[in-house]
Symmetry: C2
Subunit: 192 residues, 2 copies
DNA sequence: TCTCCCATGTAATTCGTTACATGATTCC
DNA sequence: GGAATCATGTAACGAATTACATGGGAGA
């Protein structure tokens, strides 16, 4: 009658961390071991997550504890364990991917929306990607205008390098906006 | 004979965190209280550090403990304490600002080099800014080439959104490189 | 058997987060 | 005096980092 497992499974619905979401998404593409995932983080330039075992294995254990991952193989000793999302895991992944991009996404970690977008088509399809891009472009536009206003009002007596560094930030968001326009055209072209 | 203070003061020379460096740099511009610094993080779009007291006050306490900050005012109770860098604090700040940008800076936190650059001119002068930009441009160029090679070799069977997300990343670094060229021209123009 | 690499994990420490507690000031 | 705001901090917790420990399998 051990209730520990059940209590673990119904752990409070804390939001998944970005790392946990990325792991879910990668495991949906192909069931892998923790070691494989570490290699992805080590050798892939896409995500800049840490490949350290102390980051990856505890994150996988949390996901498994929540019932979002199941493992096959590697019963005894220290053998390879292949992990894959459960039905609940697929649900959690979809839920993460469906989140619309917000202003907060831009502040906290600039690449978070792009991480979602990278995995979006395979799970939610083209139309969801299109909607995401449109909204993302709007958010970027609003934020760029906000930054421009700040620059006008508060950057009058900054040093040259201070002003330039600020410009570099604004410029990055402008470039991202231009990319959104291009991406929408690319998707439209591929649809036809 | 209590040695605790001395042991604390000579605590092992752990590297300063980005937050600690940013606090030092802001306090060099103008001595402020922890509350002022929190407001900077809350209202400024430049740095996206947390304005939570649980982040700022412990960081300030660490800096003070290391002898990099000194405080004036606010002896009893909960009164405003104005903080400023000590001589050692100014030294630590210069040391941080003098670090050349590296490939690792781009991976870990994209904006870390720009944070240094923003404070650089007032402390190290024009010529240091120019050198920094030249080196930063080189690092960016190398990394862009590396990403382009990765795209050619490993992105053949990715989804549309996956490929586009990757392009967005590369594009961001290309935009940053273009900004470096513009910034160098701006500095040259202001020098003349 | 010895060695190297595959593979999974844990321990100590540090830092940030959210939430809470509390003293000082100011303004009505 | 009472309420709002200024101002400083602590407590509990979650998660990442570095470093270490250990076991399994392949080939010399």
């Amino acid at each position: 009658m051990r209730m520990v497992g059940r209590l673990g499974a119904r752990a409070k619905a804390r939001e998944l961390s970005l790392l946990e979401c990325a792991l879910l998404a990668l495991l949906r593409q192909s069931p892998s071991s923790g070691y494989d995932l570490r290699k992805v983080f080590a050798e892939t330039p896409l995500a800049h997550f840490s490949d350290s075992p102390g980051a990856v294995y505890p994150a996988l254990a949390r996901l498994e504890h929540r019932g979002l991952l199941s493992s096959s193989g590697g019963s005894g000793g220290r053998k390879r364990r292949a992990l894959r999302p459960t039905t609940a895991g697929h649900g959690a992944l979809r839920q993460w991917l469906r989140k619309a991009p917000t202003r907060a996404d831009l502040l906290q970690w600039r690449d978070a929306p792009m991480l979602r977008f990278a995995f979006m088509e395979e799970v939610l399809g083209r139309e969801a990607c299109r909607r995401f891009l449109v909204r993302y472009g709007e958010v970027l536009g609003e934020y760029v205008r906000e930054l421009e206003a700040y620059g006008r009002d508060h950057l009058t007596q900054a040093s040259s390098s201070g002003r330039l560094a600020f410009d570099s930030g604004v410029d990055g968001f402008r470039a991202q906006r231009r990319w959104v326009e291009r991406a929408l055209r690319t998707l439209a072209k591929e649809d036809s």
